[in-house]
């Protein structure tokens, strides 16, 4: 019995923490310690969400952002994997791409949004582009790192059995890189979502990020929190599923000794 309690502790305490936060939040407003104008309150947010669901506003915003996110992330996965594999396989290509990847990683790309808007228009086009650029870097970098850090013993063994470069790539290097690649996907998913939200703050006329900004200008904190909660839920769902995927492939790690 004690064991069961211990094992379920993370889940129960986790749920408890959210409940506690919501309760405290609501109470602070009700007793007057917190100004609902600034902080809103769970009950108000809940009814705002319900209203938004009824009017379809929530679904609209969510779908816009979600679509942008999916397209940006998918493009980043394809491009990032290809770049990472090629750069991991050919050292020269890694050296060529390295300075540009560093720039992509560290520069505030949103600064270029006017240029994107000229080419891709206001709204989804630019948002997807920003989301893509933000998330392609960790995917490419992690794939590259995965390819570079394969246990050399495996390569040696494969060569000892007559493996040709083609075999080394498909039968050893790529499977061995999967754990790092999935870690890169996890990082990329977060940045893709970040890219969507950032871009929506500046160039969009619909979507969750836009909704937060728009309501912010009207000081409607309740609506802001409503959209924020949806964003948090989306972010958590994506990161958690990729973490689960990462755990699944953990036994594929080629640390020496396996």
């Amino acid at each position: 019995m004690k064991n069961a309690i211990q094992r379920s502790a993370p889940v129960t305490l986790g749920i408890a923490s959210f409940v506690i936060i919501l309760v405290i939040w609501e109470l602070l407003v009700r007793v007057g310690w917190a100004n609902p104008f600034f902080t809103s309150q769970p009950s108000a947010i809940a009814s705002a969400l319900a209203r938004q669901i009824r009017t379809g506003e929530l679904l609209r915003n969510f779908l816009v952002s979600f679509r942008e996110f999916v397209m940006g992330f998918s493009a980043a996965v394809v491009v990032g994997l290809v770049l990472g594999v090629v750069a991991g396989w050919y050292r020269v290509i890694e050296y060529i791409l390295d300075p540009f990847i560093w720039f992509l990683y560290s520069a505030p790309l949103i600064a270029f949004y006017p240029i994107f808007v000229i080419r891709l228009g206001l709204g989804s086009g630019t948002v997807i582009a920003i989301s893509f650029l933000l998330s392609v870097t960790p995917i490419a970098v992690n794939t590259l790192t995965g390819m570079k850090n394969i246990n050399p013993s495996l390569i040696l063994a494969a060569r000892s059995f007559g493996a040709r470069p083609h075999d080394l790539l498909w039968k050893v290097a790529l499977p061995a890189s999967v754990p790092m690649i999935v870690a890169g996907l996890r990082l990329g998913v977060g940045r893709a979502l970040t890219g969507v939200i950032i871009a929506e703050l500046f160039v969009a006329s619909s979507g969750l990020g836009y909704s937060i900004s728009y309501n912010g200008q009207l000081l409607r904190t309740t609506n802001m929190f409503a959209s924020l909660i949806v964003i948090v839920a989306l972010g958590v769902a994506c990161t958690q599923s990729l973490s689960a995927l990462e755990a699944r492939f953990d036994s594929w790690r080629t640390s020496p000794g396996v």
């Binding site: 993370p10 305490l13 986790g14 749920i15 408890a16 923490s17 959210f18 936060i21 991991g88 396989w89 050919y90 050292r91 020269v92 050296y95 060529i96 791409l97 300075p99 560093w102 720039f103 560290s106 520069a107 505030p108 949103i110 600064a111 270029f112 949004y113 006017p114 240029i115 000229i118 080419r119 390819m147 570079k148 390569i155 040696l156 470069p165 080394l168 290097a173 977060g190 979502l193 970040t194 969507v196 939200i197 950032i198 703050l201 969750l208 937060i212 900004s213 912010g216 200008q217 000081l219 904190t221 802001m224 924020l228 964003i231 948090v232 972010g235 958590v236 994506c238 990161t239 958690q240």
Partner: protein, 258 residues
Amino acid sequence: MARIAAFESRPRFFESRAFVSTTAVLLFLIFWEIAPRLHWIDGTFTSEPSRVIAATLEILRGGDLLRDVSISLLEFTLGMIFAILIGVPIGLLLGTFQTLRYLLDPPVMALYATPQLALLPIFVVWLGIGVGSKMAVVFVGGVIPIIVNSIAGVREVDRSLVLAARSFCASQKDVFAKVIFPGSLPAVMIGIRLGISRGVLGVIVAEMYVSQSGIGNEIMKYGSAFRVDYLLVYVILVSVFGFTATTAVRALEERLRA
């Protein structure tokens, strides 16, 4: 062939990272300079290296640079300092006490999965368009990776070291100060490094969103006016700063690891 030979010879100079990377960048710069002149690409939206250099000189002569840099730097530094001062102790605490961790982990992970800049409009409502909201964004962006990595750092400390200390009758305080804290320091540094890159992005985007001064503000100004040459000066400035800061922390990490 590929890098994946089991025994690599010392690379010749022309294959070295320094040579290839530098040459690639130089070739890119040359192409960037020539292509607009030959009308291969539209120079109004891409500018050229020569104009960027001219813009740099103009900005340096202008005298506003110092003020803008100081403001952005101030917001960034204060936000990061708070993030470190609050994040590290919390992270170490959560790493040490399991029940606390089970309780607070879900909210922390929820925040980790959320784009920090989704909170920007809310911070603007709460703290206005001045320095406060930018600091808040930097703080939130930085504190979460610091907490998460500090937790990981504590949990990765080799249990046998703790046992060894206890066998010498070390008190709880000693165990913490002499084993757990130093042992988790490398992971804490990683968290700080991640926090810095999120913080840099945060302060710039926040300033772009709404501000009266600072680098982000300048970026917004020149971006909307399509003065790409001036825009690039600031973007490169931010990139270089971000790179320097993270490299410095990385060097510290190496030093600690030794």
